[in-house]
């Protein structure tokens, strides 16, 4: 996951790093919630595929809306969509090294 990102997609990922999980209080990229980013310059579309740490997460809507808002704010001419997926299911193994440091794992 999150492999072969273009430079622009990596920039978008950096933008999404400002989105925090309100329960764990680390950013959702380091938590491993972002599965893919697709930037299409010709169609002017950005598509983010992400998950949540648990089904029924009480702040799920807010996190997704936050991602959408942050990306839109930085890529004003683009149509931004955020897709929620449960496959594969999120596990702690998806937490980045940076995230593990923050969580003292």
């Amino acid at each position: 996951m999150l492999e072969n990102l273009s430079k622009t997609e990596q920039k978008i990922l950096e933008n999404i790093k400002t989105v925090m999980d309100p329960e764990v209080e680390i950013n959702i990229v380091d938590l491993g919630l972002i599965y893919n980013i697709n930037h299409n310059e010709i169609d002017k579309k950005i598509h983010v595929t992400m998950t949540l740490s648990a089904r029924g997460c009480p702040v799920g809507d807010a996190i997704i809306m936050h991602v959408e808002t942050v990306v839109k704010a930085n890529w004003k001419d683009y149509e931004v969509t955020v897709e929620l997926t449960w496959e594969p299911e999120w596990t702690p193994s998806l937490i980045t090294e940076e995230g593990k440091k923050t969580l003292n794992l």
Partner: protein, 433 residues
């Protein structure tokens, strides 16, 4: 957005918030009344004043918060909309009315046919019926056939059974249509409320929420399935046995069956605790861990209360009192004190900031209350519950009174944070960019 994102199903906060507000007030009132009941409670678990305080705690505090939390959680965990917000409002006001009248009736005249008992009992019955209808009608639409949801739905049935039996007992006091000692029926009523309603619900909700807060995955869900079979089978057998064959050996086997079921639930959540991502627990989760410690005391005292061993005959009344206190003021109160911080701030945060995140700098849910106050009431609670148990064991009234003061402090601080969260004023700062 794909299925599974459920927060859009959550009801209006106006349905949920009054439950938290009235619950906090009821906890404070009960704590104050506990001070004036200290002399009674060291010697008995029956009597007007004790039943008055017990019903404020069970109905006004614990059931009130549980109803409110479930109106929020059923849509979230079952991924359905709440069947009716109007029914929830009527149930709420009926519960408040019923609690006040029942308390007054017990405090004033123990068990009598006075008007306040009739109004109170009827109002509670209406409240429960409306809650159960709302919960079941909402649940029937769910596609999430999980064991946690099955626990929650089953608990609603047991709640109905418990309250119906309570009404039957009151009627039987006066009309004697069941040829049975009312104390025997009372035992079934109490155990049904404890095991069928509270425990079943705690297992269902706890097994969903606690691993979510611990962010633990790949847990053995067979523990929950086994727990469901053992607790339900055991509970049913207990009711039948208490009514028809109250044999000590049979009751021992049944009690051990129920305890095994509860321990499977504890094991499930202990595994989640060990796997937790955040090693440092916040005050909400610390109180939850304390609750589990009191669950063990509840299990031990509950076991002794049911089987009544001969060698403990002299202190049997004290054991019954400890059973009730460790369950109501220990396990359930600690769980609610803690889980308030894991639910209420999120409800308000979503209401105030859910559609503003990203556009403005917004506070985190944990910024909506005072952590210092929360930590203070964590310690005052531990002091209060330990002192009351010492007071019961030593039968020293003053120790129970000091404990009641600590409970008043706990309830005041908890109430402060509850209302601070409910009346939180939006704080928005523009983003730097």
């Amino acid at each position: 957005m794909k299925a599974g994102l459920s927060t859009k199903n959550a009801p209006s906060p106006n349905v949920v918030l009054p439950h938290y507000a009235f619950g906090a007030i009821a906890f404070l009132v009960a704590s104050v009344l506990l001070f004036f009941t200290a002399g009674d409670i060291i010697n008995s678990y029956l009597g007007g004043r004790i039943l008055g305080v017990a019903h404020i705690l069970i109905l006004g505090w614990i059931t009130m918060i549980i109803f409110g939390a479930l109106y929020q959680l059923i849509p979230v965990v079952m991924e359905v909309r709440l069947f009716s917000e109007i029914l929830a409002h009527i149930s709420l006001y009926s519960l408040i009315l019923g609690t006040i009248f029942l308390y007054w009736s017990f405090w004033d005249s123990y068990i009598s046919t006075d008007l306040s008992m009739e109004i109170g009992g009827t109002a509670i019955f209406i409240s429960v019926i409306l809650f159960v209808v709302n919960a079941l009608m909402s649940a029937q639409k769910t596609k999430q056939k999980t064991i946690e949801n099955t626990f929650i739905i089953t608990s609603a049935f047991w709640l109905l059974f418990t309250v119906s039996l309570g009404i039957l007992i009151v009627l039987n006091v006066f009309y004697k249509f069941i040829d049975k000692n009312n104390l025997e029926l009372l035992k079934i009523h109490v155990n049904s409320g404890i095991i069928g309603w509270f425990m079943m619900l705690v297992i269902g909700v706890g097994s969903k929420l606690l691993p979510m807060f611990f962010i633990a995955h790949k847990l053995n869900r067979n523990y929950l399935r086994i727990s469901y079979i053992l607790t339900n089978f055991g509970h049913l057998a207990l009711a039948v046995s208490l009514y028809f064959f109250p044999n000590k050996y049979l009751l021992t086997v049944i009690a051990l069956t129920i305890i095994s079921g509860i321990l499977f639930f504890v094991k499930y959540n202990y595994d989640a605790y060990k796997m937790r991502l955040r090693k440092k627990l916040d005050v909400g989760m610390k109180l939850t861990v304390v609750a589990f410690l009191f669950l063990f005391l509840t299990i031990i005292s509950g076991f002794l209360s049911i089987i009544k061993p001969d060698f403990l005959e002299k202190i049997h009344i004290s054991i019954n009192i400890i059973y009730g206190i460790s369950l109501i003021l220990g396990f359930l109160t600690s769980l609610i004190l803690g889980q308030m911080y894991k639910t209420l701030p999120f409800i308000i945060w979503l209401k105030k900031y859910g559609n503003k995140v990203g556009k403005f700098k917004v506070p985190m849910p944990a910024d909506l209350y005072s952590k210092k106050v929360a930590n203070l009431h964590y310690y005052s609670f531990v002091v209060a519950i330990v002192l009351i148990l010492i007071g019961i064991i030593t039968k020293i009234e003053m120790v129970v009174q000091i404990s009641a003061v600590a409970f008043v402090i706990t309830a005041s601080l908890y109430g402060y944070n509850t209302f601070k969260i409910i009346f939180h004023k939006e704080k928005l700062e523009k983003n730097d960019e």
